[in-house]
């Protein structure tokens, strides 16, 4: 059953996965080539941190695309295919979830190989270290979390998605109103801190996404 789900889901997802593989493989090589002759080691670190935002965005985009594409066919067919299958709903969702996780792997592996090649073929200034494995592991966890979040949102009913959007709107409106009232309440900032700080749901996206560091 998993094999069948994997096969059908692959057809919808393969283009996104292929693009993610290309980008993931290209980024470490490009980042090292762009900094082949850095002004100073400090400049190299700064530039590498700038590239770090790209890795985080790629992880988020990969998770988003794979999660949304996992449900796109079911949404189009109003879940008739799923209802026709002789499997429990929870099992069907689990199969889709598992297949999605499998489709994250090619980009993660591509990033790992590329990061290893990039750091082993370019000289690294004294005092600095390469972190290809650390970057790949962080990317893997970030992609996994992004996939899980968007998978849950995509699997949810329109009402549930509305609740999530509504919660975001409430925070933004509250910030607007408190600003208008002259109160210096950093509501959005606190909300972001909760989400991005440990052990928040997006904590893996914060921190140092850098291939070269001290």
């Amino acid at each position: 059953m998993f094999k069948a789900i994997l096969k059908t889901q692959w057809k919808w997802t393969r283009l996104a996965v292929f693009l993610a593989v290309v980008v993931a493989f290209t980024m470490p090589l490009l980042s090292m080539n762009a900094n082949a002759l850095p002004e100073s080691p400090r400049t190299l670190i700064t530039n590498m941190q700038a590239w770090g935002a790209g890795y985080a965005l790629l992880a988020a985009a990969l998770g988003l695309l794979v999660a949304v594409l996992a449900w796109s066919s079911d949404h189009r067919g109003h879940h008739v295919y799923a209802l026709a299958l002789p499997v429990a709903r929870w099992r069907y969702v689990l199969l889709r979830f598992g297949a999605g996780i499998v489709f994250l792997l090619p980009a993660i592996i591509a990033l790992g190989i590329s990061a290893e090649i990039a750091t082993s073929t370019h000289p690294i200034p004294q005092g600095l270290h390469a972190y290809p494995l650390a970057l790949t592991v962080r990317f893997a966890f970030a992609a996994l979390v992004a996939f899980a979040v968007f998978f849950a949102i995509s699997a949810a009913s329109a009402r549930a998605a509305g609740y999530i959007l509504g919660a975001i709107c409430v925070v933004l409106v509250a910030q607007f109103l408190t600003d208008a009232a002259g109160l210096n309440w950093q509501i959005v900032s606190h909300a972001v801190d909760i989400l991005m700080g440990y052990p928040g749901i997006l904590a893996v996206f914060s921190g140092r996404w850098t291939l070269i560091d001290v």
Partner: protein
């Protein structure tokens, strides 16, 4: 009679012996319109300059701000916050600012750019200087007034100190991020004194920061190879007429030629091995340790950087550098590797989201 008229009369009288009284009168009469026109232009220029200055005066603590009407509240709130910060940081020395005038004016047409104000300073002749635009918020104007005040106070330490520091005095303590930056500078520095500093040699730290009390500090800051780099980097301005010496240093790598060339470079053109942020960080630490009286002691200290920072901190320069070195080495950037806790949290959130998807009522 104005000075202009007196000058004209004396100027005319110089050659008076060779002309008749009538000719002399005619010359003076001819020059009067010129004098009147020039005087009128000067009066107009002065008038325009006076008109350009904001009319309302806001005095809060040590800060004096001239503000355009309508900007009084903004000026008062910002100056109030800035004055608190400046006085807390610099103590009685902040009184220096009492004679300094800041100006806050509406920028452009109010309807075109209502969110922008002009912030400037007024010099002793009434001229507006150092003008720039900023956001018309209390936060932005406060920050600008703080930076300008700290710069004005820092200028009292002399141009050599300002050049070494590379910026005005900081009105706050160094953040963790800046300490991390200093550690990165130490770890990644290509210069031997910085590496020795990282390895634990405090006197090397003083050299790397440029506060060692030595004759010919460049010889201590940089070794033979590094001096060649310094000569090539900083010596291009003085190459003209010394091409042979430069060639011997740059291409033949003759150490004596490089040293001779380095000695020709003005001392203030050669920067110490550690960059500006590290030096600013040292001064911030000195002010943290020294409290509000730090600047007063610094201003009273002998005119060497070593004595100045030591006076600010209220401890010996070696002790200050030792604390700086320990703090710089202790403040580590987070490792790029993710922790077990973060990995576990990520897996937990993945499982929670997966469970939420399982429980969805979408096609139940």
């Amino acid at each position: 009679m104005s000075a202009w008229a007196v000058l004209l009369l004396f100027g005319g009288a110089r050659h008076g012996a060779a002309q008749t009284q009538a000719e002399y009168r005619a010359r003076v009469q001819a020059l009067i319109p010129v004098w009147k026109a020039t005087s009128a232009e000067r009066r107009a220029a002065d008038s325009v300059r006076t008109r350009a200055l904001p009319k309302d005066t806001v005095r809060v603590g040590v800060l004096l701000v001239l503000a355009d009407s309508g900007l009084n509240d903004l000026a008062r709130n910002a100056a109030s916050r800035a004055a608190q910060v400046i006085q807390a940081r610099f103590g009685e020395s902040a009184d220096i600012l009492r004679t300094h005038v800041f100006a806050l004016s509406k920028e452009g047409g109010a309807s075109q750019r209502p969110a922008i104000v002009g912030i400037a300073e007024v010099d002793s002749s009434g001229r507006v200087t150092r003008g720039q635009s900023d956001m018309m918020t209390v936060d932005a104007v406060t920050r600008d007034l703080e930076n300008r005040s700290a710069r004005v106070l820092g200028e009292r330490l002399g141009p050599a100190f300002a050049k070494w520091l590379g910026s005005g005095l900081a009105d706050d303590s160094a953040t963790t991020e800046t300490w991390i930056g200093v550690r990165i500078d130490l770890v990644t520095s290509p210069y031997h004194v910085a590496r020795e500093c990282y390895a634990g040699n405090v006197s090397a730290c003083a050299d790397a920061l440029g506060i060692a009390d030595e004759n010919q500090p460049v010889m201590h800051w940089y070794d033979e190879t590094e001096r060649r780099i310094v000569a090539m980097r900083s010596g291009w301005q003085i190459r003209t007429g010394r091409e042979e010496l430069y060639r011997q240093c740059a291409t033949q790598r003759v150490a004596a030629a490089c040293d001779a060339f380095v000695n020709l470079i003005a001392p203030d053109q050669i920067q110490p091995p550690l960059p500006f942020p590290s030096r600013q960080n040292l001064v911030q630490l000195a002010f943290d340790l020294g409290g509000p009286g730090a600047l007063a002691r610094m201003l009273a200290a002998p005119n060497t950087r070593r004595e100045q920072v030591a006076a600010a901190a209220g401890i010996s320069a070696d002790s200050l550098v030792s604390i700086w070195q320990r703090r710089a080495l202790e403040t580590r950037a987070p490792n790029p590797s993710i922790t077990w806790g973060l990995a576990a949290a990520s897996l937990l959130w993945t499982a929670i989201c997966g469970a939420m998807a399982l429980g969805s009522s979408r096609w139940r």
